[in-house]
């Protein structure tokens, strides 16, 4: 019964994202990007080495790139960077509306009257939103990967790892959206708080460099603790970059500490939801 309920909740989220044009908006952006790479980008190979790279017929390599491997990595890097910046911002903006709609008066009472635990109800919506964004990310990543692979015959699996990291970063931030949406019921506040965490991430990642700017030790300590406590979207982006460059990760700390943060946010959201009156 649990699987039937979960599937229904995920499917309902999908349906709502389709009706509210969220899904189609994402799909349109992703398709535009895939078409850009498939139509505008032209790579001429001669015996496995790059002879020319043109975008809309303009030579962009200027003879500086040694081989096709490098340009493919740069293109994949650009897509990964898109996922970690604009993609993440768009995803938060789109998903922040999907979670609070469940708590609307007249809708939530009926959901709560069903033999579904509140935890399952909220997790179903969380997974549904994750599935909506994940499906679009998969479409974009797989599309670009296939187009570039077909043009260059280079199939870099690290790109898929970079995309998985982007989806993970979104899952972490979506936990913030969920916790804020449950406690406040406001999509706007949920969006603002999520953007705050994303924007703080590159700043806190520089905590060692910024520490000398603070005169007081406690201020330096606070910055350090915030870095460890907050989600590390910026560091996850760096890990994606390292993956694309074929370099080994120096640490997995950004992954597990962000997962811990997401776990705490989810637990806080579920705890608040379980106690709230509707």
């Amino acid at each position: 019964m649990g699987a039937v309920q979960m599937l229904a909740l995920v499917r309902d989220t999908f349906r709502e994202s389709l009706a509210r044009k969220i899904f189609w908006g994402f799909l349109g952006c992703s398709t535009a990007l895939i078409l850009f790479f498939s139509l505008a980008l032209n790579i001429d190979l001669v015996e496995g080495a790059m002879a020319a790279v043109t975008i809309f017929g303009q030579d962009v390599a200027h003879g500086q790139l040694a081989d096709v491997q490098l340009i493919v990595k740069r293109i994949l890097g650009a897509v990964a960077a898109f996922l970690f910046t604009a993609g993440l911002f768009l995803s938060i903006f789109a998903s922040a509306g999907l979670i609070p709609t469940v708590f609307e008066p007249g809708r939530i009472e009926l959901l709560l009257s069903k033999p579904v635990s509140r935890t399952r109800l909220l997790l179903g919506r969380y997974l549904g939103t994750l599935a909506v964004i994940g499906a679009n990310m998969f479409y974009l990543v797989a599309g670009v990967w296939l187009v570039l692979g077909a043009k260059t015959h280079i199939w870099d699996p690290n790109f898929l790892l970079a995309a998985a990291l982007a989806l993970f970063a979104f899952a972490v931030i979506l936990a913030v959206v969920l916790a804020v949406a449950v406690t406040s019921g406001s999509a706007v506040l949920a969006t603002m708080v999520s953007y705050f965490f994303v924007l703080m991430s590159p700043l806190l990642a520089q905590h060692e460099r910024l520490a000398p700017l603070f005169r007081r030790q406690w201020a330096r300590d606070v910055m350090k603790w915030l870095y460890y406590a907050f989600p590390k979207v910026f560091d996850l982006g760096n890990m994606a970059r390292l993956a694309l460059e074929g370099k080994a990760f120096t640490t997995w700390m950004p992954v597990w500490s962000s997962a811990l943060f997401a776990g705490l946010m989810l637990a806080a959201g579920l705890w608040a939801f379980a106690r709230k009156d509707y």
Binding site: M1, V4, Q5, L7, A8, L9, R11, D12, R15, E16, L18, A19, R20, E104, P105, G106, R107, I108, E109, L110, L111, L112, S113, K114, P115, V116, S117, R275, D277, Y278
Partner: protein
């Protein structure tokens, strides 16, 4: 016999933001609804009816007391397995078609896909929305939404239906249709808990009633007993002023209408004296009957009595 609904001193107090004042929306309500009964919950606006229903369905948590459905704590999801609910002021997601909406809520009740498809078709037919099955419900009228909401509540064949203002916005034909559907469910042994401010509807449909006012049960019991006789009436044609005055002096309340005069008496002795006096005066007796209160009479009397007590807000 395990009651379908049982509450023991259930209370819900809301604390106002930035204030120490507490609003006692529901204040120690104890009710018992047995299987197969059509139970009406009545009360003026803001009396705590909807909060009480939400307490039953675990949409709000009690401040005190217990609520159980089919003998199980109603806060447990399993207790709501056999419950169908139609909320007041519902907002069904408008992106669904009628069929998708039924399918979604039935899936949340744990129904398998094949059964959902079959049952949805059957119920859309029953509530007269078969032709609208594939139309988004954003295009439905209020009455159609109520009928769809009722179908939604019936999808998983519940043994208890909790209906909050089920005929709100429905035209007279639709109301009759809903009553017929509910009547058929009752014959099948389904317990129906009706929260409504339409007294005529409750009177037509329910076996038992509770009147809730200011968060407390002001009166509860069998409807027939509540509205049972409180006096007698003798109706006569051709009763002149003389006999009218005579019976007035004997304590009758007199009301004339289209040549027929009604004499109301509190007891049987007054009726017998009136019959004798009317015969002597040459009046024709049309009717002798025991008087019944309407539910509206009972409701107004009970609510008025409660209204004279101080408001239940506490510091």
């Amino acid at each position: 016999m395990t009651p379908v609904i049982e509450t023991e001193g259930v209370a819900k107090h809301f604390r106002r933001a930035w204030s120490r004042r507490v609003v006692r929306a529901v204040d120690g309500v104890s009710l018992r609804v047995d299987p197969g009964v059509a139970y009406g919950l009545l009360g003026p606006n803001g009396s705590g009816k909807t909060t009480f229903v939400k307490l039953l369905l675990a949409a709000v948590w009690p401040t005190a007391g217990k609520t159980s459905l089919f003998g199980q704590d109603s806060r447990l999801p399993a207790a709501r397995q056999a419950v169908g609910y139609l909320p007041e002021n519902h907002r069904f997601p408008t992106y669904n078609t009628g069929f998708q909406m039924l399918d979604f809520y039935a899936a949340l009740s744990g129904m398998g896909e094949t059964e959902r498809r079959r049952r949805a078709g059957e119920l859309l037919e029953l509530v007269g929305l078969a032709d609208w099955a594939d139309v988004r419900i954003g295009k439905y009228s209020k009455g159609m939404l109520q009928r769809l909401g009722l179908a939604q509540a019936m999808m998983h064949r519940p043994r208890l239906l909790i209906l909050d203002e089920p005929t709100d916005g429905v035209d007279p034909v639709g109301r009759r249709q809903i009553r017929d559907i509910l009547g058929a469910l009752r014959r099948d042994g389904v317990t129906i808990f009706l929260n409504s401010h339409l007294l005529v509807e409750v009177e037509l449909f329910c076996d038992e009633v509770a009147i809730i006012s200011r968060g407390q049960v002001a009166l509860s019991g069998r409807l027939a007993e509540m509205t049972a006789g409180s006096g007698y009436v003798v109706s006569a044609a051709g009763a002149g002023e003389g006999v009218r005055d005579q019976l007035r002096q004997q304590g009758a309340r007199v009301a004339a209408n289209n040549g027929v005069v009604d004499f109301h008496f509190a007891d049987r002795a007054g009726v017998n004296q009136a019959i004798d006096a009317l015969r002597e005066s040459g009046a024709e007796i049309e009717r002798v009957a025991r008087q019944h209160s309407t539910l509206e009479d009972v409701f107004v009397r009970v609510v008025s009595q409660v209204a004279v007590t101080p408001a239940k807000e506490a510091d």
